[in-house]
């Protein structure tokens, strides 16, 4: 008997033909990442869970439209991004796009209970992330926490790579000033 790791592409192909078990396996591989991404941009566990379910349902319904299976991750996060912004828009239909996401003070970003870092540091980081603009925070989440390439981030956010890079680097400068100030270097 030969054991072989089943690739996402195989699961996508089978799921696209209506194999629900293959799709469930695919979901189990991605649900935690999608949930944490949505949690960090919505700041609410209940919203993040509801949106995650919607994302995977929508992905299943549109799986046949996915031409490049190697880009499943970016495609899935693009759906997640759109779902989150649709929710923001439903709740605040009169607001501009920049104002759609919750303000920093409302962003109760989770602090990991099992983290090896002190709770104070996690709270400081959560606060610093919360003070970024919505676009900057999302760029940090996609790059630092989700590890996407700039091209994938551009696909997810539907904007040029230069814009994505500019947002991320501006965010990194702000976070550096707050989390690693000059006077505390070497800590």
């Amino acid at each position: 008997m030969i054991f072989r790791a089943v690739e996402d592409a195989d699961l996508i192909q089978r799921a696209a033909k209506g194999n629900v078990e293959a799709y469930n396996l695919l979901v189990s591989r991605w649900e935690k990442r999608v949930y944490n991404y949505l949690l960090r941009i919505t700041g609410n566990r209940e919203d993040a869970l509801d949106l995650t379910q919607d994302v995977f349902l929508k992905a299943y319904q549109n799986l046949r439209k996915l031409t490049d299976r190697a880009r499943f991750g970016a495609w899935l996060f693009r759906i997640a991004h759109n779902e989150a912004y649709s929710m923001f828009r439903r709740r605040r239909p009169e607001a501009d796009v920049e104002e759609l996401e919750p303000r920093g003070a409302e962003t109760g970003i989770t602090v990991g209970g099992s983290s090896v870092f002190p709770m104070e540091l996690s709270l400081t980081v959560a606060g610093a992330l919360g003070r970024l603009s919505a676009d900057q925070r999302e760029a940090v989440v996609l790059k630092i926490y989700q590890g996407f390439k700039f091209e994938e981030m551009a696909e997810i956010l539907d904007c040029p790579v230069s814009t994505v890079k500019s947002r991320l680097y501006a965010a990194l400068d702000l976070l550096k000033a707050e989390l690693a100030p000059l006077e505390t270097r070497g800590v």
């Binding site: 935690k32 046949r64 989770t110 926490y145 690693a180 270097r185």
Partner: protein
Amino acid sequence: MTCSPFDLRDFLLRELTAAEQRQVEDHVEVCAACRQDLDRLRLTRTALSSLADEEIPQRIAFVSDPVFELSPWRRALAALWSSGSRLVFAGAAMLSVALVVSPILRPKPVSPAPVLTISDAEIRQRVEAGVSRAVTDIESQYRARTEQLVKDIEQRDRQERRLLQASYEDDLDRANRKAQNSLRDGYGDSQ
């Protein structure tokens, strides 16, 4: 602002080529300012990693229900629409059918109605006839109206004459009665 040959943030995120990475490594060994900046970036990244991912509170799973499954026919239709090449083929097939069927179903051209030929003299004659007919109509209308007006005036004149005559007769009658009374009164006095 640093003097590093490449952006230290690109270096931190491993966005540089191997050769570029090495150049930055060599540079930060000799440049204290860039080394300090890179240390701060690394510290920032380490601090960010203190936020651990959460477990999803509820696992997501889908169940297969035949009610929601697409029928083979609809699945084939969906597959056709979702495939670019198949769609192009279907479009080409429809175009071919249209090209074959179109000449058969196209309505035959209808020949235009014959143009009537008519001479200038005839046109002039018809116009003159029409004009004289219109003039006759108008003249007869005026004549009838004039006759009616004359009749009305004559009738009104007769009425006025009758009224004047009646009034004159009344006046005359009244004067006669007055004269008779005067004569009778004068005769009495003379007696």
